[in-house]
């Protein structure tokens, strides 16, 4: 197979996007959505067909040279290695399903061209991240997904709150990009190249301190895109976008870009123990933080947003404890079940008549058992019910963390286990509030369209069964994913310990479920007060940022303008001008229009000249 075909994978969605940008508004709605679905499914097919190219060392192809100048070279080039292959398949696959779903979801919208154009462009940008063979091309995708997510979050722009949410997402992730960009510059000045392969091959040459710095910078970049502490505050607001967007961008793909980046640069990252510890710490803390926030959320999509953040925290933890395959494993299962949950949430919102608040739902199980069962699968995976995909992937991460041994990682493991309990609790809380109890919604809902509904079962199936991909030895598996990625097998814990830990996990899972069951089996009534509103507002993070960052920033801006430009610089310049005017005023008075006065001036001048010559002749 011609490796150049690999370029068709990102180019197809790009094409779909560009056609929709240019002519979409003149095409019939069906064609618009059909085109974009076709583009994405085309790249999914290609990714499947070209899968063999990804094995072993992978394939590298270059289309053309993007930027080339004085020793710097960045190509539009693809590195299709096992990691990229897995990710490509996941991105295109999930994207295809979500595009199909969106075709149903957005059927009534007045400007589907913009929506599908952005969605296609997003897939293109995401594939750039995944496939890029150099960091600059990766950066193109990196910023590209930022822009597309900006456009899609603010898709219903007439409400300027949505647009603001989009802007917040763009700017906050761009703060992260800043660190990534610095890392990029630094890597170039250290290695003279931005090729990922070459950098990873030569990391051993670097000074350990520099390595730590680079790792932290990459972590900063990853934090921005993946909504980890402290750059997490944009993700809950991003739920202002249409639901397919939340499913595709803010659950399945874009937010995992940070994890992917760290996995991509793992040879570099893994050499810095401090950096690894920082990654693990950020991951564990975010997992806990987000899970705690999810406990009290009222909007269905915000619950899911926080749970996304929390699950990505697990993935960071996985990278931090050194298991790329664990991170990728969780990334895959999470992509499937979270997309399922979000798309299920979209159906739920339709069923509840546009209601977002889970306290105003309830009893939907009778209304649509189909949606209930599919949603239940998602919830089970999220909560880590034994034998679902989510269980195996989460368990793998926690086992590795435990195996890492020392006190620090043991603490992180503890946090992880606690978070698993919280996850189980809020997942079932969501389930109970939405599907059980009495119907509390005001509006009359309508059933989701078949197109929407039929995209869910494949995801449910995948979510349940992805566990098989990397089934641990304990369950008779061979850890296929780890093998494919060429990662070293994790250290084997003694079987007894492993079983013990599994039981501990089980206890936390059941505990969470039981508490949720007791508390939310029947609707307990509105609960607002105290620590709940603290959790509801995400630990007041937005207010804190407003106080310590935004207000000072605006003050500085205003000061520079009023104090710097207007008062100081213009003041000095205008002061000079006024000085000139002032002196001119003095000179002006000399010309008083009196001929006699002027004549006197002449006379004095004459005297002076004559006197001068006299003096000169005397000398």
């Amino acid at each position: 197979m011609n490796p150049l075909l690999l370029f068709l994978i990102p180019i197809l969605p790009l094409f779909g996007g560009v056609i929709n940008v240019c002519f979409g508004s003149r095409l019939p709605h069906r064609l618009v959505s059909g085109l974009s679905v076709a583009a994405v499914s085309g790249s999914f097919l290609l990714a499947t067909l070209l899968w063999p190219l990804g094995s072993g060392e992978g394939t590298r192809v270059v289309l053309f040279s993007w930027l080339k100048s004085a020793g710097f070279q960045a190509d539009v080039g693809i590195l299709f290695d096992p990691l990229a292959a897995v990710m490509t398949l996941m991105v295109t696959g999930v994207a295809t399903l979500i595009h199909l779903y969106a075709a149903g979801y957005m059927a009534e919208d007045e400007s589907p061209a913009r929506f599908f154009a952005l969605l296609n462009l997003f897939v293109f940008a995401m594939l750039c991240i995944v496939l890029a063979d150099n960091l600059l091309f990766l950066f193109l995708g990196w910023e590209g997904v930022g822009f597309c997510s900006y456009g899609l979050i603010g898709f219903w722009y007439r409400n300027s709150k949505n647009a603001s949410a989009g802007r917040k997402a763009f700017i906050v992730t761009r703060i992260g990009d800043l660190f990534f960009a610095i890392a990029l510059l630094w890597l170039f000045s250290a290695f003279g190249t931005v090729m990922i392969e070459q950098i990873n091959a030569r990391v051993a040459e670097l000074d350990p301190l520099l390595l730590t710095g680079l790792t932290l910078l990459l972590l900063g970049g990853a934090c921005g895109k993946s909504a980890q502490l402290p750059l997490m505050s944009w993700l809950p607001d991003a739920m202002a976008g249409p639901t397919p967007v939340s499913a595709l961008i803010h659950a399945a793909t874009m937010v995992t870009a940070g994890v992917y980046l760290l996995c991509r640069m793992f040879p570099l990252v893994s050499l810095s123990p401090t950096g690894m510890a920082a990654i693990a710490l950020v991951g564990a803390l975010t997992a806990l933080y987000a899970a705690s926030c999810a406990l009290a959320q009222r909007e269905i999509k915000r619950v899911l947003a926080y749970s996304t953040m929390s699950q990505i925290g697990y993935m960071f933890l996985a990278v931090g404890v050194g298991t790329v395959s664990g991170a990728m494993f969780h990334l895959l299962t999470h992509a499937f079940f979270k997309a399922l949950l979000f798309m299920g949430a979209g159906c739920v919102i339709h069923l509840a008549g546009g209601e977002n608040d889970i306290y105003r739902m309830g009893g939907l199980k009778e209304k649509s058992p189909q949606v209930f069962w599919l949603f239940l699968v998602g919830i089970l995976c999220l909560a880590g019910t034994p034998l679902t995909g989510g269980f195996f992937s989460k368990d793998a991460i926690l086992l590795t963390a435990f195996a890492a041994g020392d006190g620090f990682y043991a603490t992180l493991w503890g946090i992880g286990v606690l978070t698993a309990g919280l996850t189980s609790f809020y997942s079932f809380r969501l389930l109970y509030l939405v599907f059980f109890g009495t119907a509390r919604q005001a509006g009359q809902g309508h059933a989701p369209s078949p197109l929407m509904l039929w995209t869910l079962p494949p995801l449910a199936l995948l979510g349940l069964c992805t566990g098989l991909l990397n089934l641990p030895h304990l369950f008779g598996g061979h850890e296929w994913l780890t093998l494919w990625l060429g990662q070293p097998m994790a250290e084997m814990l003694p079987v007894g310990t492993e079983i013990g830990l599994l039981f501990l996990m089980l206890i936390f899972f059941v505990g969470g479920w039981v508490i949720a069951h007791v508390r939310y089996r029947t609707f307990p009534g509105d609960e607002q007060a105290g620590w709940r509103s603290f959790l509801l507002s995400g630990w007041q993070a937005d207010r804190v940022y407003e106080l310590i960052l935004l207000r000072p920033y605006r003050a500085i801006c205003r000061f520079c303008w009023q104090g710097g430009d207007k008062a100081l610089i213009d003041g000095v310049m205008e002061g000079l001008a006024r000085l000139c005017l002032h002196w001119g005023d003095y000179v002006r008075r000399l010309s008083n229009g009196q001929v006699a006065f002027y004549l006197q001036g002449f006379a004095w001048g004459l005297l002076l000249i004559v006197g001068w010559f006299l003096l000169a002749s005397v000398k």
Binding site: A70, F72, E143, G144, A163, L178, W186, W561, I569
Partner: protein, 495 residues
């Protein structure tokens, strides 16, 4: 000294004097504004075609691509020397392109159209002259020639506060250029005194032997003129005022072209003539540039007038350009020059679009705009594209230049590069604020609600295409820059 290419036909002179010919025609036929319009459009188009032809014919060329030399004012050793290398070629192309846009955007000029077009064309001659002159007096002549039409464009056709802005613009730039004139004359006298050959030729003057003190003073004299024009912090305050008051064509020329003449002056004259002083000044330039990047980005964030936001963004972008120059390596210089071209196109496009928006909504105040996307989807899409380019989205024009500058600057000093990256975040903050206030939200009261007309499509499509093309495939431009830049860096120019 002697060029390797003997130009059979004085193409450079043609390029240079064609717009002035258009001016004369406009003034002769001033009674028919329609005729003037077409004459000026045809003139600018011809210049563009000639420039494009020259570019195509000189692909892969080296040395002076075109060169002309003739005696002019013999007694003072002033010669009529024009030369075009890759850098001037690109800048002339940019000039020709933006002038077409400037004429098209003022197509409906009501007030004294003949004079207006005539002035725009004079300015084109002035700007092209600056980019081509190799004799210091000739250069100075064109340098001042740019100033006068702009003064009148702002002062006569400007908005409410136009006289203040015009006078401010005039005094800032004039004050700078007087130092330049003094420095030129002193250098001429020093050189003549040493060699007996009184000449204003750049090549000859580069051989002058100077004491470090003299060199520094002369260098500062040159740089003052250029820094004010660029404009570098803290000499930038004329720019926002001039932009706010200038008519659309004036804004396009100002941001797209006039600012570039300052940078061009530095690399063609100030640095090669005084290399030692230039080396000493680099850290200061870098600091001024960095301060400018942040300072301008911050101020842009709190502006309420769209034009002022873009004006301050120009200051910030030119800060990147100067930072690249200060980094003094091939990578950064190519980036700086590329960024200059790309910024010209992007900002030119933005100012063109602001004029269109103002035409339709009757205001440029961010608070009074909103929801334009609902009414003008095409116009808004173009606006978004230019804004994205301006905030440095990879794949669009500005990023290509910026990243090269950053890479080069980081190589020169990690601190410079690292800090400058932060400027990119701030640029996102203010550009998105503009986008948000103008495009999103509920739509407000409008004067007109027709989307793009054919004439407007004609302006925007080429600019937008270039924004994308230069972002994705800047190689041809970089190819033109490679040799001249390395010559300038190593020896200060053509031998």
């Amino acid at each position: 000294m002697t060029p390797d290419v003997a130009t059979p036909f004085p193409l450079l002179s043609l390029l240079l004097w064609l717009p002035l010919g258009g001016t004369l025609l406009c003034l002769l036929l001033r009674h028919s504004s329609n005729l003037c319009r077409w004459i000026s459009l045809l003139t600018t188009l011809t210049v563009l075609v000639v420039a494009l032809g020259m570019a195509v014919s000189s692909i892969g060329g080296s040395g002076w691509l075109f060169y002309e030399d003739a005696a002019w004012i013999e007694p003072f050793g002033i010669r009529y020397t024009l030369g075009m290398d890759g850098i001037s070629l690109l800048l002339v192309l940019l000039t020709a392109l933006l002038q077409v846009a400037a004429i098209l955007i003022s197509w409906r000029q009501k007030q004294r159209p003949a004079l207006f077009y005539a002035l725009v064309l004079v300015m084109e001659t002035g700007i092209i002259g600056v980019f081509l002159s190799l004799d210091l007096i000739l250069f100075y002549l064109f340098w001042e020639l740019m100033l006068i039409p702009m003064f009148f464009l702002i002062g006569v056709w400007g908005h409410e506060n136009r006289v203040y802005a015009a006078v401010k613009f005039f005094f800032f730039t004039l004050a700078g250029s007087l130092f330049l004139l003094l420095a030129i004359i002193w250098l001429y006298l020093l050189h003549g005194g040493q060699t007996g050959d009184y000449s204003f030729a750049l090549d000859a003057l580069r051989q002058t032997v100077l004491t470090p003190g003299q060199e520094m003073i002369l260098y500062i004299g040159f740089m003052l003129a250029f820094i004010v024009k660029v404009p570098l912090f803290p000499f930038h305050t004329w720019l926002p005022d001039a932009h706010t008051e200038a008519p659309p064509a004036g804004s396009v020329d100002l941001a797209g072209l006039l600012l570039k003449t300052g940078v061009y002056g530095m690399i063609r004259f100030a640095f090669p003539l005084f290399p030692a002083a230039a080396q000493k000044s680099l850290p200061f330039l870098a600091i001024l540039a960095l301060v400018g990047i942040f300072y301008a980005a911050w101020i842009a964030y709190v502006q309420t007038d769209m034009k002022r936001v873009i004006a301050y963004s120009s200051v910030a972008h030119l800060g990147f350009v100067i930072l690249g120059l200060a980094a003094w390596n091939q990578l950064a210089w190519e980036g700086s020059l590329l960024l200059m071209i790309n910024h010209g196109i992007t900002t030119g496009g933005l100012f063109v679009m602001i004029a269109m928006i103002q035409d339709r909504s009757g205001t440029r105040e961010l608070g009074k705009l909103g929801g334009l996307w609902t009414v003008f989807p095409n116009l808004s899409a173009f606006f978004l594209l230019f804004c994205l380019s301006s905030l440095g989205l990879p794949g669009l024009a500005n990023f290509a230049g910026e990243i090269l500058v950053l890479l080069g600057a980081f190589k020169a000093d990690p601190l410079w590069g690292g800090m400058a990256v932060a400027g990119v975040v701030f640029s996102a903050a203010y550009m998105l604020r503009v986008v948000q206030s103008a495009l999103w939200g509920e739509s407000k009261k409008l004067a007109r609600n027709d989307d793009l007309a054919v004439r407007e499509w004609l302006i925007l499509v080429p600019l937008a295409a270039l924004v994308v093309l230069l972002g994705v495939y800047p190689a041809p431009v970089l190819e033109f820059l490679r040799e001249p830049v390395s010559l300038l860096l190593e020896t200060g120019g053509m031998p």
